[in-house]
């Protein structure tokens, strides 16, 4: 039974159609204000380049991220979602990122269960001093999503 489900999940993540040649993935980035958003600002100030596919939303803390936001992003425009918060132990709000981490783990399991590839939604820790790391993370996520292909193809396939 489990193997069967797994097989189905894998089959759902195989593109059924070729992506259009000019296709660019859209990634929704939800960043906490104190670490990751500040880190992404530093990426800018340091003029470190990364792929232009990410659209950034600022939230006070990664614990503010409702799984709803992730699902809504995937439902509408995004091919992938990146959530980034302060490093564990560095949360501006003492313990918010721990809640975010747990909540995210569960969300990710659910998304995997319903057939999303685990790379569609990713989580990272970027501090306010890690401008270079932010660029690296975005580049990696963008490439991961690019490999997976456009999400709307699956949606059409499933509906």
């Amino acid at each position: 039974m489990e193997a069967e489900i797994k097989e189905k999940i894998v089959s759902m993540e195989k593109p059924h159609m070729e992506a259009p040649p000019d296709w660019q993935p859209v990634i929704m980035g939800i960043l906490c204000n104190w670490c990751s958003y500040a880190g992404s600002d530093l990426t800018g100030t340091s003029r470190i380049q990364y792929p232009p596919n990410i659209r950034i939303i600022r939230v006070p803390c990664s614990s503010r991220v409702d799984p709803w936001f992730i699902i809504k992003s995937l439902q509408t425009i995004a091919d992938g979602v990146l959530i980034s918060g302060c490093h564990p132990g560095d949360c501006h709000y003492i313990s918010g990122n721990y809640y975010a981490r747990r909540r995210f783990l569960v969300t990710k399991k659910l998304l995997n269960f319903v057939g999303f590839h685990e790379n569609r939604v990713q989580f990272s820790w970027v501090s306010a001093a890690e401008g270079a790391k932010f660029a690296k993370v975005v580049t990696k996520v963008t490439e991961d999503i690019r490999k997976l292909g456009p999400l709307h193809l699956y949606k059409k396939e499933n509906s």
């Binding site: 992404s40 232009p52 936001f69």
Partner: protein, 657 residues
């Protein structure tokens, strides 16, 4: 119907070189709700802000989007522009098209332009859901609590009290003074520690604005910035401080002897004791763990000899409450336990002591009358080996950080040893000499020249017994050879370490601490005195290892923060906090669990209009809430929302592109 104004900034060439600004403006005009869009060279300049102000009035805008640099940069500037035009400042949204677009996609103008348009679309969508918010005013109790009566706490208390703000100073031991009172002379000037400290201690005791609570501990801290309520345990001293004159008859006659903490256990004190002669307050307390009268009900000598009848064996711990507005935490440091250094024979050889034990020995009021002696036979040592970085900078056995003061006090110890025992010689094993500070390098040089101490760069690998003496085997890295030094006494410069109850205190206060137990500052560079919790400040070694000048400076800084906090009649607070819609709240209290600030409490409201039956709902304490939004994401009935980052605002952003 929303009427949004979009203002796109060129930021000189910063944005305009990599993003097609006029095209972005045109794109913004196509958004249904956008009634006005314009670009300008520098939106943050006065004329730029004037454009915003004029447009708000002319076009009857309901919200404003500025597409420019990061909101972390100029959000405040533009909010002010909105207020000046008579608009609620929180109707502003900033689209970050500089840090998030023009600066990071410099090779692809088309993509950068598209992204900038998207970011504006998102900001417009969010701004439509923006609500008018108002700064929150919180009343403030102008009284400060200082925890810890060492030099940090003393300095902070005096500075705050000098600003005519009442201070409650809580010290857990019977006297204030802390570690500094244990020191003999202080680097780099060699002035006597007691001579510069005790006048300050007396000032504390006599200051009309300071309430000194010695032999007390903070048990609870409730409330929020400006409105804390502290429960303080006054431990039973069994001595009536009001009548006691501190004559000392009781401790002279007390028959029970206990190792003396103040002298690092080198000598004994009595069960009724005052820790040192200059103690403030100079009143004895009874150590309940050792007093035979309290343990077995026999003895009572102190009560018999006390002319004033101040001894009261029936005294109980007492809890007092104080309303306070701000807290300065200055709990100081402990010494790291060097027992992992088994190769040094710590614990096996009596003649290996810690630097603080050495400090007490060379102190004029110390247990040996100011002369260092060997613990094993009481002889005066001639050859003393000092080992630095015992615990510090040693990931394998100790801790990673540098304790900061050991280089300096070891140089001081070499000088003190030379002063007390003229024909002695000091050998100092060191890793580096870190003497950054005013007059510090000169002081180390002075120690080397004046005492002729042998500085050996290298680590000690083994200490073993040879006859009555100790052989110290180490490496002289500069000569690249093994050296052995015969020593009469070995002094370990053990690392500074936070008190082991620091984490408990941190939890009680609701602030964070690091993996060692040091209390964490809000920002390591720009907010080194504040904690992440508003109204709680740090001073001294409770935050990180520090020398006396740095400690005093931080204490004064903390005091300045407290005075600043108390400058107005009320505190202004950001309105971006959570609010509960009681209609939807089911009273599950998940939000109560996740709130890191205990800002959510429960209240009972009638089940329906006029109903006598009650139900429980969540309630946010405006003063405490910091606006993280944990509660919003956990709420299953969507009853709680975060102003400024509402579900509606964020979902609008998501669906806008």
């Amino acid at each position: 119907m929303a009427r949004v104004g979009v203002f796109v900034c060129f930021c000189g060439a910063n944005i305009a070189d990599f993003v097609d600004v006029p095209a972005v403006t045109e794109e913004a005009k196509k958004i249904k709700e956008v009634k006005y869009a314009i670009e300008y060279k520098y939106m943050c300049s006065d004329p730029g802000q004037q454009m915003i102000r004029d447009a708000i009035v002319q076009h009857r805008l309901t919200s404003v989007v500025v597409a420019a640099c990061s909101p972390r940069m100029h959000e405040k500037t533009f909010r002010k522009a909105l207020s000046d035009a008579g608009m609620n400042p929180y109707l502003l949204e900033v689209a970050n098209i500089r840090e998030h677009s023009s600066w990071v996609h410099q090779k692809d103008k088309k993509a950068a332009t598209e992204k900038a348009s998207d970011l504006i679309r998102m900001a417009v969508a969010k701004s439509i859901a923006n609500e008018q918010l108002h700064e929150i005013s919180v009343p403030v109790t102008k009284r400060a609590l200082v925890i810890g009566g060492g030099i940090a706490g003393i300095q902070a208390a005096l500075d705050i009290a000098d600003a005519r703000i009442p201070v409650v100073l809580v010290e857990k031991s019977p006297s204030i003074g802390g570690r500094m009172a244990q020191l003999d002379e202080t680097f780099p000037t060699l002035d006597c520690s007691q001579c510069i400290l005790t006048p300050k201690m007396v000032d504390v005791a006599s200051h009309p604005f300071i309430e000194l609570l010695p032999y007390s501990e903070v048990m609870e801290l409730d409330g929020y910035v400006g409105n804390y309520k502290a429960k303080i345990k006054r431990k039973a001293s069994y001595v009536n401080f009001d009548t006691c004159t501190g004559c000392g008859a009781c401790w002279q006659k007390c028959p029970v002897k206990v190792p003396n903490e103040f002298n690092m256990g080198i000598d004994k004190r009595k069960a009724i004791y005052s820790p040192f002669p200059q103690a403030v307050p100079n009143k004895p307390v009874i150590d309940a763990e050792h007093c035979t009268m309290l343990l077995k009900g026999k003895c009572g000598i102190c009560a018999k000899v006390c002319e004033k009848g101040s001894i009261d064996y029936t005294m109980q711990d007492e809890i007092v409450e104080r309303e306070i507005g701000a807290v300065v935490v200055a709990t100081g440091y402990d010494l790291w336990d060097p027992s992992p250094y088994e190769e040094y024979g710590v614990g096996r050889y009596k003649d290996i002591i810690t630097s603080l034990e050495f400090e007490r020995m060379v102190s004029a009021n110390g247990p040996t009358g100011g002369v260092p002696v060997r613990p094993s036979d009481g002889k005066v040592p001639k050859r003393v080996v000092f080992i630095k970085c015992v615990g510090s900078r040693d990931e394998a056995k100790g801790i990673e950080y540098c304790s900061k003061i050991c280089c300096m006090y070891t140089a001081k110890h070499a000088i003190l040893l030379h002063h007390k025992v003229h024909d002695s010689h000091a050998y100092i094993f060191y890793m580096d000499i870190r003497a950054a500070g005013k007059g510090y390098e000169e002081f180390v040089k002075r120690a080397q020249v004046e005492t002729g101490a042998t500085y050996l760069r290298g680590r000690v690998s083994k200490i073993y017994k040879k006859g009555e003496n100790l052989m110290v085997r180490g490496e002289d890295a500069q000569l690249g050879q093994v050296v052995e030094v015969e020593a009469d006494l070995v002094v370990l410069a053990t690392a500074i370490y936070p008190y082991k109850d620091n984490p408990d205190l941190a939890r009680l206060l609701g602030i964070s601490y690091d993996k060692y137990g040091y209390l964490s500052e809000a920002h390591p560079k720009l907010r080194p005195v504040e904690t992440a919790k508003a109204g709680i400040y740090l001073a001294g070694c409770t935050q990180a290892p520090k020398d006396i000048p740095d400690t005093v400076a931080q204490a004064s800084a903390a005091a300045a923060k407290v005075c600043g906090l108390f400058a107005g009649d009320t505190l202004k607070k950001d309105p971006m906090i959570s609010t509960v819609n009681t209609e939807f709240c089911t009273g599950c209290q998940n939000c109560v669990t996740v709130c890191p600030y205990q800002a959510i409490v429960t209240e009972e409201i009638p089940l329906g209009h006029g109903s006598k039956e009650m139900r429980i709902v969540a309630k946010v304490n405006e003063g405490v809430c910091q606006g993280c939004g944990s509660c919003v994401a956990i709420c299953r009935s969507m009853a709680i929302d975060l102003a400024g980052f509402t579900d509606m605002q964020i979902i609008n952003e998501i669906v806008s592109i």
